[in-house]
């Protein structure tokens, strides 16, 4: 009951306050999300569903699905959706700004010192070590992702995966071409499966 009153009260707060809150919430989330990608989703859920009550639980699930299905960084996509949902187009612009400002500021500062940073012997050793760490992290991610493909126990995804690898690694085929071709394959596969299901229903 109390929560409900608070929520209504919140909705009545003037829109400037709401815009401010949107901007600073996404700014804070973006500044604290290391590792990028999916990490931001549970944090956003906590902020906007639990803390502020601006979004319903299952609505957040839908927004996550759209953020994942769209091109671009998941963190950016999710914040566009949250902003749009809460305060329309201006809200979306504010949340995008809040999400891209922290990395923009941090990387700008780092790249100003990049040369001095790179010439330092100790930094060099650390960077060489960390590059091995990045390679290990990517290797781990690839193993986990490839596992999900093999677990489907279907031939087509495995062929697409191996074919794309050979195409990009050994024949330097343009990545955009591969994405477009595989998108068409995916669409044709979905259409074909849908048709098979219909035929099965009739029988």
């Amino acid at each position: 009951m109390l929560i409900n009153i608070e929520r209504t009260a919140f909705l009545e707060v003037n829109s400037l306050q709401k815009y401010k809150k949107l901007f600073f919430s996404t700014f804070e989330l973006s500044a604290c999300t290391f590792g990028g990608g999916f990490v931001i989703i549970p944090l956003m859920r906590k902020k906007f569903v639990e803390e502020l009550g601006w979004i319903e639980e299952d609505e957040m699930m839908d927004l996550t699905a759209i953020a994942q299905s769209s091109p671009g960084a998941i963190a950016v996509n999710a914040s566009i959706l949250v902003g749009y949902h809460v305060a329309g187009f201006p809200g979306a612009m504010l949340t995008v700004l809040g999400t891209i400002l922290p990395p923009l500021i941090i990387i700008s500062i780092i790249s100003m010192f990049y040369q001095a940073f790179r010439d330092n012997a100790i930094v060099n050793m650390a960077m060489a070590g960390m590059l091995c760490g990045v390679a290990a992290v990517i290797c781990d991610v690839v193993i986990n992702m490839a596992k999900t493909i093999f677990q489907k126990k279907r031939l087509l995804p495995v062929i697409v995966m191996l074919g794309s690898f050979v195409a990009v690694r050994f024949f330097s085929v343009n990545i955009i071409v591969i994405i477009l071709v595989c998108g068409v394959i995916g669409a044709a596969d979905t259409w074909h499966q849908g048709k098979m299901r219909k035929v099965g229903d009739k029988r």
Partner: protein, 187 residues
């Protein structure tokens, strides 16, 4: 016109990196190392490392870094805007369609078709970084035994720790950096 080129390159990166996170990596390499001479492979490896250590999406981090290197702060802003522009348009359109019709069967089907290809491309970009870490150059040398043994040890240890204990990758990165300083100063 360098600003336009920056915008267009990162527009394409934003438009075609589907699946989030590391999916942007091969596209960034393609645009800023292969197509445009904006970064060397060493700088690319550096920015991937920095991107992993700092908050924010990889694509945004690299857009800022490349933009600054190529055309200063305005370049950074333009590259970043180019990177998020496709997202803004597409996400809002999809949200509209979603609330209107509920369910995105075909979109999900296309995504399912893309997933294996995205994995393959991440694997390929990962191999490029691995060659960089082991040999300090872009392509495999003729003499395959000339590798950096220290790097191989750190990599092997890193992958072992990740598979066995599944820690936050950030700790593996920090650990690799510390071990790197210790081992390289001893060699």
């Amino acid at each position: 016109m360098i600003y336009l080129e920056l915008f267009w390159s990162f527009f394409q990166i934003g438009l075609f990196s589907i699946g989030g996170g590391y999916a942007a990596m091969p596209l960034i390499q393609n645009q800023v190392v292969d197509i445009h001479p904006w970064l060397t492979m060493t700088q690319f490896a550096d920015i991937m490392t920095i991107a992993e250590m700092t908050p924010g999406p990889i694509a945004i981090n690299s857009a800022t870094f490349v933009g600054i290197q190529v055309a200063g702060l305005p370049g950074a802003v333009i590259a970043t805007v180019g990177c998020v522009f496709p997202s803004c348009v597409i996400v809002m359109t999809l949200a509209y369609i979603y609330y209107r019709f509920r369910g995105l069967n075909m979109v999900q089907g296309i995504l399912a078709g893309l997933r294996p290809a995205v994995i393959a491309m991440i694997a390929s970009a990962g191999i490029s970084l691995l060659i960089m870490a082991f040999y300090g150059q872009r392509t495999l040398p003729n003499d395959l035994t000339s590798l950096d043994v220290t790097a191989v040890i750190i990599f092997t240890f890193g992958i072992f720790v990740l598979r066995k204990w599944k820690p936050n990758p950030l700790w593996v990165m920090v650990g690799s950096g510390v071990v790197g300083i210790i081992m390289y100063s001893l060699v």
